[in-house]
């Protein structure tokens, strides 16, 4: 008997503050004007996407002690813009990245519960942690967390927020005019949490929201990150959008669920994915090449080389050969506020490898950065892209994708108009929303309907 095909989940990542976003394109609009957000969100909703996704960074990036000026800089406050988007959409989920290092559970829980009320049950929280004193300079807390403390604080932060969400059951407000009883229970919202990172007690002041708790995303990739997700997240925002790496990650994470008493369908794997469409596959490939070159200007190429070399390379010609000097290896890094520099664990080896690649291909610095940088995940005609996305999902490399267009705000339009109808024709993507809340779109149970031990564990 044939299994029915898996249903694909699709989300839209508002173009971010890195060089994926091509701000120099004539089509590129404002990244801050609310109309850009409205256009992007309404396109996603028109295409029946599950949710919109916003990233966040709490300090402007710097390189060589100066604010990094080559990429889009600046973004709105996550909660505030999501609340406004709730007014111009009806079904689209609203996912915000919110840091567990430079916030407090009481305030964040209020904000998510409020957003959930104000959106009729469409809020989701991508829980991230910070590692750096650099970002801490903007906050009361200051300082930073050692690597090993980050997840322990994040875990306790999430557990504490869940205690706050659950401190109202949902039946406390009776508002009986005749008897004058507004609350059934004088203790509504009572909570006590005593832990290593948070020692708080009192009364939570937002009544139970439609989803009970926001949908929880996790984005980290470390072993602790995967375990954190397996224990309590509803979805993972991963970076493995190739078939083999995706399948390996998918299997690894889904296999971790059983020990928390959870089923594989209770945690969705949603990699970030870029795409370029064309009328034909050949045209799409050509466009993809052009986009990659626009994403890496000469100036950007030098800065990206500095991520590895960890020294000032501004005197080098981007159209010339790679530097002869070796990377500077040390505790401090030329680039601050940027997670990706930590990917280069052995800069000397990376530099050696890159020099060999450049020599073999006769590449300049810019050629090298263009060619070693991330290629778009899905490149092709709408039919090719629809088929590939479906193949990935049916082959358990993902449960769907969080698409990252490279143009603000129109970068999703073509996908919505051309690819989504093909997925719908294949019967693997919804033609109407499943219900009012984000949990409905994602096929996730309401927390009140989960067995008690699972609620407690998460």
């Amino acid at each position: 008997m044939n299994k029915p095909p898996k249903q694909i989940h699709l989300a839209a990542h508002f173009p971010g503050v890195n060089n994926t976003t091509v701000w120099s394109d004539p089509e590129a609009g404002s990244h801050i004007d609310f109309r850009s957000f409205v256009h992007f969100a309404q396109t996603a909703e028109r295409a029946k996407f599950d949710f919109l996704f916003l990233a966040e960074g709490l300090r402007l990036r710097e390189q060589g002690g100066q604010i990094y000026d080559l990429d889009v800089v600046g973004r709105p406050d996550t909660f505030t813009v999501l609340a406004a988007l709730a007014a111009v959409t009806e079904h689209l989920g609203l996912t915000g990245t919110i840091n567990s290092t430079f916030n407090e559970p009481y305030e964040v829980a209020r904000q998510f519960a409020s957003l959930d009320h104000l959106s009729g049950g469409r809020s989701a929280w991508n829980v991230v942690t910070s590692w750096d004193a650099f970002t801490g300079e903007n906050f009361r807390r200051g300082g930073f967390l050692p690597q090993e403390e980050r997840y322990s604080r994040a875990e306790e932060f999430l557990a504490t927020a869940n205690e706050l969400f659950d401190s109202w059951r949902g039946d406390e407000i009776v508002a009986d005019r005749a008897t004058g009883t507004f609350l059934r229970d004088a203790k509504a919202g009572a909570f006590v949490h005593s832990g290593r990172h948070f020692d708080i007690h009192g009364r939570f002041n937002v009544p139970r929201s439609p989803q009970g708790r926001p949908v929880v995303f996790q984005a980290g990739d470390s072993d602790e990150g995967r375990e954190f997700a397996a224990a309590g997240a509803d979805a993972i925002f991963s970076r493995y959008a190739t078939l083999e790496a995706g399948q390996a990650f998918y299997t690894d994470v889904k296999n971790r669920l059983a020990k928390y008493g959870r089923r594989p369908d209770q945690l969705l794997i949603l990699p970030a994915a870029t795409f370029v469409l064309g009328d034909t596959d050949a045209e799409a490939s050509e466009r993809a090449r052009e986009v990659r070159r626009r994403q890496v200007s000469g100036a950007t190429a030098i800065k990206h080389l500095e991520f590895v070399w960890n020294r000032d390379l501004s005197s080098y010609d981007p159209d010339g050969p790679l530097p002869d000097i070796d990377p500077h290896v040390g505790d401090t890094h030329i680039a601050e506020g940027r997670a990706q520099v930590r990917m280069y664990r052995d800069p000397l080896a990376t530099a050696r490898e890159w020099r060999e690649l450049a020599a073999a291909n006769h590449w300049s610095i810019r050629d090298l950065v263009v060619n070693t940088g991330n290629r778009q995940n899905f490149v092709g005609s709408p039919a090719t892209v629809a088929r590939t996305i479906n193949d990935f999902v049916q082959a358990d490399a993902a449960d769907g994708f969080i698409l990252v267009p490279h143009i603000t705000p129109g970068g999703l339009d073509e996908f919505a108009d051309k690819v989504v109808p093909l997925l719908q024709e294949r019967g693997v993507f919804r033609t109407r929303y499943e219900g009012p809340t984000l949990r409905h779109q994602l096929g996730l149970a309401h927390p009140d309907d989960l067995p008690g031990e699972q609620r407690a564990a998460s």
Binding site: P76, Y106, P207, A299
Partner: protein, 403 residues
């Protein structure tokens, strides 16, 4: 753009303070109240739409970091009044796209929150509303609210009168002044033309037009710049409720609007003089600073009906309603008389707290406003597109910009 008709020079400014079903604790029991909808977007959208139909300058949204309480310092565990509320900034933002002219001023508690987060939140509210954002800054000395955060203990006070209590409160207000200073600097930390999108050099911004704010104070240090570009108004409107010298100082130093609570005309004069003195002492005598009076209002076309309504609510509550602000009960015309009398004693506007939102808000917009318009004392159309514009405040220059 709206029609740029100037309001009459004798015009006063009107705001409404939104809180729950209204300011009387029994207001939720009125047939017109919708206590079951308090946590839905539609409820707030309707209230703000009504305020906008009445051409009001702005609405404020109350907030707090703990349950509402009748006790000045502790939770009261009462079950006969509205408890629980949504985050005010998010409510304001949720209604912003549904409105076009009215200002949106959420309450922000400085004591336990991050100035960096609030600066970008209000800047974003300003972007989302294209220039209609403000904030009302508040402090809290409640021990239970401190325990919700667990980061600091605030010495327990025994009332507002003792020297020790005033020291504690004074300290919290000093922190709030620092907080507003940080927020204001962060709003200016991007110059208006910082975004250059210069394809030739590949630069998206001119980094010389982004500024570290390098604030160092007793309670926090903040480096900056903000992650959010300068809001459309440059500086969204800052306001605070003030009952005595220390908060008057905060208003004098940092606010665009102070809400004060006089009970009679002589008090109006005295308070306005004190606020103006603080403003001068803070070295900003020429800066426009509005002084609004807060008034709780019960309005009916027949004064006896208004009084009877208030009595009925008091009976339901089991005690007479009292307030820090003067409680006005009467007709829209009588209220207009009072507003004009106090205006001539030095006030520039009012923040009205409707006793029952379902009744008294529309009495303001459909009764008081037409009455004031007849007297030439209130606008007949919105004359500006931003809150600063409605309040007659110019868009300020950026403190970091070099001429």
């Amino acid at each position: 753009m709206s029609t740029q008709t100037s309001p009459p020079s004798s015009a006063l400014h009107l705001a409404v303070a939104l809180d729950g079903t209204g300011w009387h604790p029994a207001s939720w029991r009125e047939p017109v109240a919708e206590p079951g909808s308090l946590y839905s977007a539609g409820y707030w959208a309707e209230l703000v739409a009504e305020a906008e139909r009445g051409l009001l300058d702005f609405v404020t949204f109350e907030d707090g970091l703990g349950p509402q309480s009748t006790h000045f310092l502790d939770p009261d565990e009462r079950t006969d009044q509205v408890r629980g509320r949504l985050d005010a900034v998010l409510v304001a933002s949720r209604v912003a796209p549904l409105t076009r002219h009215i200002g949106l001023v959420p309450t922000v508690v400085a004591t336990h929150t991050e100035p960096f987060h609030i600066a970008k939140a209000i800047a974003t509210l300003d972007h989302v509303s294209t220039g209609r954002a403000g904030l009302r800054v508040q402090i809290t000395a409640r021990p239970n609210e401190a325990a919700h955060f667990g980061r600091r203990t605030i010495p327990r006070i025994d009332g507002y009168e003792s020297l020790a209590a005033r020291e504690v409160i004074g300290d919290l207000f000093d922190e709030a002044a620092d907080y507003v200073e940080v927020v204001r600097r962060l709003w200016d930390s991007w110059e208006d033309d910082a975004e250059i999108r210069d394809a030739a050099t590949g630069r998206f911004i001119d980094r010389d037009k982004l500024h570290y704010i390098d604030f160092e104070g007793r309670h926090f240090s903040v480096r900056g710049p903000s992650i959010t570009p300068r809001p459309p108004q440059g500086q969204p409107v800052v306001s605070a409720l003030a009952h005595w010298t220390v908060p008057y100082r905060l208003v004098g130093r940092q606010a665009d609007i102070g809400y004060v609570t006089p009970h009679h005309t002589e008090q109006v004069r005295a308070i306005v003089a004190e606020v103006r003195a603080e403003q001068a002492a803070a070295g900003r005598p020429g800066t426009p600073l509005h002084v609004f009076a807060d008034l709780v209002v019960f309005l009916d076309s027949d004064p006896a009906a208004a009084a009877a309504r208030r009595e009925r609510l008091d009976a339901l509550a089991g005690e007479p309603y009292t307030s820090d602000a003067r409680i006005f009960t009467g007709t829209p015309a009588q209220l207009a008389d009072l507003l004009q009398e106090w205006q001539s004693a030095g006030l520039t506007g009012y923040r009205l707290r409707p006793g029952v939102l379902g009744h008294d808000l529309s009495a303001i917009t459909r009764g008081l406003v037409p009455e004031l318009q007849r007297r030439g004392a209130f606008r007949r159309a919105y004359e500006a597109d931003t809150l600063r514009g409605l309040l007659g405040l110019a868009r300020p220059a950026n403190r970091y910009a070099t001429a």
